[in-house]
């Protein structure tokens, strides 16, 4: 069962990447490359520091964390972006997205948390820390974690892509990205502990 879900998610993820490349060209590939790097850093940090949640031993690994954990962020953020574009009519790119667009992305990410979390717990792929507060199997902290990472990443990407040279764009993206990935995991754990969620 786990291998089936891991493989299916990977195939859909590759479909998302192809979709982004067809519609956005090299920027689409870079967009997914950045999200994959962010997911890899974040999820491996979560495993190594033993914070927030843990994973069952899965078949496809990427470093110390399951591959599915690294790719699910890009998968989810891209889906949220496509949805926000479809609903708002605003095209996301190298200009700072509107507050309305980001709010729509946040709402969609919360809906994804409601879909993923109870399912992952049911099939035993991921387990939050003991005592984590949840409603209908959805940990409360995910209502902050999912939308905040998506919004911060989209702001970072649009800001970085607004630089006037390729080198500046790459530097503006890759220098803050590890801080975003690791800072988000640490920040979320801190909020979770402070709120006793």
């Amino acid at each position: 069962m786990h291998l089936f879900i891991e493989t299916l998610t990977l195939l859909f993820f590759l479909g998302f990447v192809a979709h982004a490349v067809i519609l956005r060209g090299a920027a689409g590939a870079g967009f997914f490359g950045a999200m994959l790097l962010m997911g890899f850093l974040r999820e491996n940090f979560v495993v190594l520091r033993d914070i927030l949640y843990g994973f069952a031993p899965l078949h496809l690994m990427f470093g110390r964390a399951p591959l599915i954990a690294s790719i699910i962020w890009g998968y989810s953020i891209y889906a949220a972006m496509v949805w926000a574009e479809a609903v708002s009519g605003e095209r996301y790119g190298d200009r700072r997205p509107s507050g309305r667009f980001l709010a729509l992305v946040a709402v969609f990410m919360i809906a994804l948390a409601c879909f993923y979390e109870p399912f992952l717990a049911l099939i035993g792929m991921a387990r939050w820390q003991a005592g984590t507060r949840a409603v209908l199997g959805v940990p409360l902290i995910t209502w902050i974690g999912y939308p905040s990472l998506a919004v911060l990443f989209l702001l970072l990407w649009s800001w970085a892509m607004g630089r006037d040279s390729r080198l500046k764009r790459i530097a503006a993206l890759l220098i803050p990205l590890p801080f975003l990935a690791i800072g988000h995991a640490l920040g979320l754990q801190a909020v979770k502990s402070a709120l006793d969620w």
Binding site: F108, F115, L122
Partner: protein, 59 residues
């Protein structure tokens, strides 16, 4: 009249795949685990429906 164009269907293809994944999730829950976490999928279902109806007249 509701009309879907190939272009706009392609633009929202990731949402179609996500809908398929959520549906598969329901099937797995029902067949393998004998339970349905349907209530937690309502928000996503509503949002996906909104996207499809918002884009239906374009193209």
């Amino acid at each position: 009249m509701v009309r879907f164009s190939t272009t706009h269907t392609f633009k929202v293809l990731p949402l179609v795949l996500l809908g398929i994944m959520a549906t598969l999730g329901l099937v797995i829950e029902a067949v393998r685990y004998g339970t349905l976490l349907w209530a937690t999928k309502i928000p996503l279902a509503v949002l996906l429906a909104v996207a499809f109806f918002r884009t239906r007249r374009e193209g």
